[in-house]
């Protein structure tokens, strides 16, 4: 707890889900630049290979694997194949794969969208932790980073499924951090706001909300590379929460100190727009 521990992001044996694009790709590339060997898994194998090419072209080591994180068998296979490729157990797992969903209020959003969003955004990290936490605990060293979102505490209207899934990831990470304390395994949870990624195009979001999110992302978005660097540094310091942007920090503060007021203000703001 005191002093400088080993930097887990250096020379890691890392598994990154959703590494084909966005924050996942940035994590993979940054970990490779920090000397790590990286398994890049994605549901889009071509995208995963693109990330692997970008890493190997610069002299790094990486492997592309197909993995649908909403299927537990895929995640189990991912752990097996990664371990056999590393020739050792992984030391860093980043549960990043996620999709965007929103634009409609509760009751209007289809249950199919709910199931789809929770299947990937919530069950993905659950499977990831279920499969990898015992491996890391056994090894007695390593780290797990779960990518949540500022939505996990922001609870903005018209994106219930996304908020619920990310709130679940936040709670999952907090629980896991407590369970793994003293084992040598660090847990961090990343809560960004807008990052310049393709989550809007690839998600199920209504057109009006897509346009708004595009504008917000363009002008307030942080680059995925910055987010990944900040998060890995925070993880190395042993931080549980990583909020790379000021707006996330402010929102987090208000939500904790005045939760009811926060929600009322949010409701008012959404009625006015």
């Amino acid at each position: 707890m005191i002093g400088f521990g080993p930097k887990r992001s250096r020379d890691s044996l890392a598994v990154v889900t959703g590494a084909g694009s966005g924050i996942g790709a940035a994590f993979a590339i940054e970990l490779a630049a920090r000397g790590g060997q990286v398994v890049c898994s994605d549901i889009d194998e071509i995208a995963a290979q693109r990330t692997v090419d970008a890493i190997t072209d610069q002299g790094g080591k990486a492997l592309a694997l197909l993995c649908d994180v909403s299927k537990v068998d895929d995640v189990t296979d991912l752990a097996k194949e990664a371990t056999s490729w590393f020739g050792a157990t992984p030391t860093l797992v980043i549960n990043n794969a996620g999709v965007g969903a929103g634009g409609t209020p509760i009751g209007v959003a289809s249950l199919d969208d709910w199931a789809w969003t929770l299947g990937i955004n919530l069950w993905g990290p659950i499977y990831g932790c279920h499969v990898f936490a015992p491996i890391l605990r056994e090894a007695g060293y390593g780290g797990i980073i779960n990518v949540a979102s500022a939505a996990s505490f922001g609870a903005a209207p018209n994106m219930a499924a996304y908020n619920v899934s990310k709130a679940g990831v936040l709670s999952l990470s907090e629980t896991l951090a407590a369970e793994l304390s003293g084992t040598g395994v660090n847990v961090s949870v990343l809560c960004p706001t807008f990052v310049k990624t393709n989550i809007i195009e690839s998600g199920r979001i209504s057109q009006r909300s897509t346009d708004l999110a595009d504008v917000l992302m363009k002008y307030t978005g942080l680059s995925p590379a910055r987010v990944a660097r900040t998060c890995l540094d925070a993880h190395d310091r042993g931080s549980l929460y990583c909020m790379p942007q000021l707006d996330a920090k402010i929102g987090w503060g208000i939500k904790r100190y005045a939760p009811a007021t926060y929600t009322r203000a949010l409701g008012l703001a959404s009625r006015l727009t």
Binding site: I46, R50, D53, A54, T56, D57, Q58, G59, K61, N198
Partner: protein, 353 residues
């Protein structure tokens, strides 16, 4: 953007070559030299902001782009000392015009084979003159005469002017040197690589096959879709994918980029001659190099892909800036020697008999 790249990706099903990539990187080393990393960072801090402001559709923009590239290649290019240049401007019997130059380094007298070089251009810049230091170096290292085509450039001359000129140059070369296609090695950088692949596919139809094909940072996707996807992962130090696409669009403006001579169908086409592709790890066209290598192998050709970590676009032309250029060119010389020797077995048999 996402959708279109996915469709293109599905067209060629090969994405398995990670072992060979690792191999080629083991071959070239894990990191670029300090000088090349400084050069790439320097370019990202100085060149990229400038190229971002240049409008290639404007006369001043194109002029400035041409000046920047020409000056850079002159300052950091290899020595021209002792090089003999023989300009060519002639008409073929069927009326097609061939413009270019023979480049022979000091002491080069071989006539048993030749290199046909297609300079890079973004289809609208550069010339045999800007690339003379590079072609002279190739001549010096291989001991072969190099014919560099001065194909017509956009925006004055649009698709397929450049490709037709390259073909005319090939026909003239075979006629005037009396060499069979199997004694000619074709080289090209950037858009010249695109032209070289098009030429190989064209002449395969009439049964001609070059001894080998060597390309530096070849362009495969003229819409820069592959490059744009790579740019999301790592920014090119010299130019944005959108900026480069605007430049190349001057060439095919008004023509569907899916035209078979623009979106070259390498994967389904005839097998290309033995190929060496070199690209830089820091540049966005590394993605094109991967695609081209995968497609060539899928079509049954043999292709060695070397991606040099931390190198910029066509770093081989800048040996006074990056030390890797010399090492990479040594590989090219070895490749040229090997493909010519492989084709030479019949000749050797006759000589000893």
């Amino acid at each position: 953007m996402t959708a279109s790249t996915t469709v293109r990706a599905e067209k060629s099903p090969v994405f398995t070559a990670d072992e060979s990539d690792v191999e080629s990187n083991a071959f070239v080393g894990l990191r670029g030299s300090a000088r090349s990393r400084i050069a790439a960072t320097g370019a990202a801090l100085t060149l990229r902001p400038i190229t971002g402001l240049i409008q290639p559709e404007q006369a001043w923009g194109l002029w400035l782009s041409r000046q920047i590239v020409a000056r850079t290649m002159d300052v950091f290019g290899p020595s021209l000392s002792g090089t003999q240049v023989e300009p060519v401007d002639t008409l073929l019997a069927d009326g097609r015009r061939v413009v270019g130059e023979w480049v022979r380094a000091k002491g080069v007298t071989r006539t048993d084979a030749a290199v046909y070089y297609l300079h890079g251009s973004g289809y609208s810049m550069c010339s045999a003159r800007t690339h003379r230091r590079l072609t002279a170096w190739i001549s010096k290292l291989t001991g072969l005469p190099v014919f560099c085509s001065d194909y017509r450039l956009a925006p004055q001359h649009r698709f397929p002017a450049a490709a037709d000129d390259v073909r005319a140059g090939w026909d003239w070369l075979l006629e005037t040197t009396d060499l069979p296609a199997s004694r000619i090695v074709v080289g090209g950088d950037s858009a010249g690589g695109h032209l070289a692949v098009d030429l190989m596919l064209q002449v395969a139809g009439i049964g001609q096959r070059a001894a080998g094909l060597t390309m530096f940072s070849p362009l495969a996707d003229v819409t820069f879709g592959l490059a744009a996807a790579r740019e999301q992962l790592r920014r090119d130090p010299a130019i944005s994918a959108a900026g480069a696409a605007r430049l190349v669009r001057l060439y095919y403006d008004g023509i569907d980029p899916a035209h078979p001579r623009l979106a070259l169908n390498v994967a389904d086409g005839p097998a290309l001659p033995p190929t060496l592709i070199q690209a830089g790890g820091a540049e966005m066209l590394a993605a094109d190099a991967h695609r081209l290598a995968d497609d060539i192998r899928f079509a049954g050709g043999s292709c060695e892909l070397q991606v040099w970590p931390d190198q910029v676009h066509v770093f081989q032309a800048l040996p006074r800036l990056v030390p890797e250029a010399t090492k990479a060119m040594a590989n090219v010389a070895e490749f040229v020697e090997n493909v010519l020797r492989a084709n030479d077995t019949s000749l050797e048999g006759r000589e000893t008999a």
